[in-house]
């Protein structure tokens, strides 16, 4: 019994950091409507800065002062980020905000390695809380007791701040209706900045307080942000009480889940999250969001199928690509195969994002599941390559069918957070379930059979499948189903009113995208001859997002161009610099701020402008016939 009680207290202590970070995220979201992906990075920065300060200054004052000063320093960094970056994208679609803050996260990951080195850092013990209390033969670290006390104190402090100060009233007002607050003459800029500073301070404090418990390392950010996303999805985004309750719930589930399913404890959290989403899609304490801003909507370029000439041009491009083996060496062909595979992957995500308006932040899950599917079939069942290649992606289909069912219950940022959390769960399973997946060591020896083993034949195989996949997706875009999907993206209200079951349409799209991604993963397994948990990882999901964005999210086939440019650039970059994440992150931020339409989008805009300059006069006049007062 005592053991379980101690386990319970350990869970409560772990909840402290989770609550601090989640409440910060919720406060920022409430006012600015930005889901700050970089919150995990601020948490990590808080831990690193606190480590340096507490090493430098000794004694109780040095330690506790160091923790608070570290959080303050990181809050100042947050203010700079808000003023330089976020102010430019407050009116951008949610997807872009998530991506920009994700780009920041990538940059910070490389920066901390640059400053503090790649090794784990062990912080000091907290002065005054070094010992442990004996509880019926079980030890409870006193620092855990301190952490248990921290959460209610912070919760109370935040409550006082929001209920008893003028600033708190403004924040609550802005959370309800920020336009009205602006109309009342409140300086919104500084309100947003100060809210962001508070949120970042809380995240950094959460990180700093962890150093006596955990080693500081450069992967802390993703670990915490996934947990925090789970917490806010369960508790309800924007609710501080919700963050508190859900942080405790998730921490306890983790603490006890380890006892029940030691290998895959995360399953328990997933099940609870699934139940909450079914019963209360907006979280335990959340409120239903007003209709989310549409992800696209920067331009109105109606889509159309390729004209005959364009079709010939595409065929010619494919023919040129097919001739690559005539003059390229083996390395170039391997790179070519990889690019073709990523064209498939990016196209599948692009289908989901641009046609369905569903920005999945965990699309790699289905890519990786396809890869593992192939590895299982080829290595364990010993099936021939062609059979494995065809059946392996079914694992991606299965995963997409299960996770997609829950994910499409939500939309916008909730959808993004949930898909990310799902992907991370799949990754954890692949990582932890060593007996089946080989864990970190992966599954080796998944080589193609002789007919596809040569670099040229494998390249042709990849290119052929890529061409077929892109063509199929294009056909679907212009099929009745594609239009039904676009209808749910454009207006859920209207699509429901004309008999469209939006959830089922979106679910189908999710399964299609997941299956196509599974094919990309299946090929990838054969290309590399092995499968690792990395092929389910977040960085791969983000690669796909960047490819889509680079090509242009509002185009039909921008992902093809985006994948080719990005992958070529990425392979080159990795060979040139160790700081690829820094460059990549900077690149993401730059695209979002400077070229939100992507390469193909920009080309289309130029083409349309040229075309419309001839017919402009006629359309202007008819438009001007009736421009009216707005509806009530």
């Amino acid at each position: 019994m005592a053991f379980y009680f101690v386990q319970f207290l350990t869970g409560l202590a772990s909840a402290a950091s989770l609550f601090l970070v989640a409440s910060g995220l919720s406060i920022i979201f409430g006012v600015t409507r930005i889901v700050n992906f970089a919150h995990g990075a601020f948490y990590m920065l808080g831990a690193y800065v606190a480590f340096t300060l507490t090493e430098r200054f000794s004694g109780a004052l040095g330690f506790w002062g160091g923790i608070v000063v570290a959080a303050l320093i990181v809050a100042v960094v947050g203010v700079i980020v808000e003023m330089v970056l976020l102010r430019r994208i407050y009116h951008a679609p949610e997807l872009f905000q998530l991506l920009a803050t994700f780009g920041l996260t990538l940059m910070v990951e490389d920066l901390v390695v640059l400053i503090w080195g790649p090794d784990d850092l062990l912080g000091r013990r907290a002065p005054g809380f070094k010992g442990a209390v004996d509880f019926f033969g079980q030890n409870i670290p006193t620092y855990d007791l301190f952490l248990i006390a921290i959460s209610p104190i912070v919760l109370g402090g935040l409550w006082l701040l929001f209920q008893r100060t003028r600033w708190g009233v403004l924040v609550r007002a802005a959370t309800q209706d920020r336009d009205m607050v602006a109309a009342l003459g409140v300086n919104q800029k500084w309100l947003f900045t100060s809210v962001f500073a508070l949120g970042v301070f809380l995240a950094a404090l959460g990180g700093a307080l962890q150093i006596p418990r955990d080693a500081v390392h450069h992967a802390l950010d993703l670990r915490i942000i996934v947990d925090v996303f789970v917490v806010v999805v369960i508790g309800g985004l924007g609710s501080i009480i919700g963050a508190f309750v859900a942080a405790v719930l998730v921490s306890e589930l983790n603490a006890f889940g380890i006892l029940i399913f030691p290998k895959i404890s995360i399953i328990l959290v997933f099940l609870v999250m699934a139940v909450v989403l079914i019963v209360r899609p907006w979280g335990l304490f959340g409120k239903p969001e007003a209709a989310a801003r549409r992800t696209p909507g920067l331009t109105v370029n109606p889509w159309r199928p390729l004209t005959t000439n364009e079709r010939w041009l595409a065929m010619a491009g494919l023919a040129v690509a097919a001739m690559l083996p005539l003059f390229a060496g083996n390395y170039a062909l391997t790179v070519g195969s990889e690019i073709a595979i990523f064209v498939i992957f990016a196209a599948s995500l692009h289908f989901l994002m641009s046609v369905g308006g569903l920005a999945s932040f965990g699309h790699a899950a289905y890519f990786g599941l396809g890869a593992y599917g192939v590895a299982f079939l080829a290595k364990m069942a010993g099936l021939p390559m062609i059979v494995s290649l065809l059946l392996g992606p079914l694992l991606g289909l299965l995963g997409a069918a299960i996770f997609g069912f829950f994910a499409v219950q939500l939309s916008g940022v909730y959808f993004a957070m949930l898909t990310l959390a799902f992907a991370q769960i799949v990754w954890s399973i692949a990582f932890q379930w060593v007996t089946v997946t080989g864990g970190d060591n992966g599954i080796l020896g998944v080589w193609p059979e002789k007919w596809a083993a040569g670099p040229a034949s494998f390249y042709w195989l990849s290119l052929g499948i890529a061409a077929i996949a892109v063509a199929i997706l294009r056909v679907i875009v212009f099929s009745p189903f594609g239009f039904a999907l676009r209808a749910t993206r454009d207006s859920l209200l209207r699509s429901e009113a004309i008999g469209i079951n939006g959830k089922r349409v979106q679910w189908t799209a999710f399964v299609i995208a997941g299956t196509v991604a599974g094919f990309a993963g299946a090929l990838f397994a054969y290309l590399k001859g092995s499968v690792f948990p990395d092929s389910l990882g977040i960085s791969l999901s983000v690669d796909a997002l960047v490819m889509v964005l680079l090509g242009g999210v509002e185009t039909v086939s921008g992902a093809v161009v985006g994948a080719i440019v990005f992958k070529a650039l990425n392979i080159w970059l990795v060979s040139q610099t160790d700081l690829s994440k820094l460059v990549l992150g900077g690149f993401v931020v730059l695209i979002v701020v400077a070229f939100p339409k992507g390469i193909v989008g920009v080309l289309e805009t130029i083409r349309n402008r040229r075309k419309s300059s001839t017919s402009e006069s006629s359309s202007k006049s008819s438009l001007a016939t009736s421009r009216i007062e707005t509806a009530e």
Binding site: V300, F483, I500
Partner: protein, 263 residues
Amino acid sequence: MSMVPTLLSVENLSKSYGGVHAVRSVSFALRAGEILALIGPNGAGKSTCFDMLNGQNTPDSGRINLLGEETVGKKPRQVWRLGVGRTFQITATFPTMTVRENVQVALVSYGRQLFNLWGSTARYAREEAGRLLDLVGMGAYAGRPCGELAYGDLKRLELAIALANQPKLLLMDEPTAGMAPRERIELMRLTAQIAREKSIGVLFTEHDMDVVFEHADRILVLNRGSLIAEGTPEQVRGNPQVRAIYLGEGLVYDSRHREGAGA
């Protein structure tokens, strides 16, 4: 008139939010080809009533019988399948599609082709979509991106979309809100004409009394959730209770005083 079948019958419909009775025991019926206006001051419960009729909102109690089927508990898409077209107070269309495609999507849904992955939408029911657009006077705009349309045109497009499933009943929530005066009259004249030709029942809410008295066959007056009057335009116009509560003192709504009576 008794030969004309009843399309919609509503019995004792009620809905409250917390302690506020948004709709209290409202009953009425609508026959095929009839144009029925639901009027009342802001907050009278018109929109709540409407949302319950097409399944967007669930009543606390009461029955709704639509074409012989009980619809309480049905989703909007299921109510649509029974033959109910709806337009919204604030237009809801698909802005990234062309005008024609907007109608085609509705036709795709009507033809139960929503999960057809292989066909070409561009060719699907193109003529039918063109006919519907011609019907509402939008034929010339078929290829135009919907996002570029002016508000009045969006309202007409919504009407075309609402007609795509060959409805027996049209629900129009403030069909002319936000339109210029001339357009209001035009749109309602068009609606009335279509309704009579195809024998469609129309239920609409409206603030513009010109539109209401000109086109409605019958008028229901709602105040604070309750039905306070029902009858022909003449009967409602003469009802002192309606005048006191809704029309205000001193204003007489007949053809001699049409000028300035719009608001």
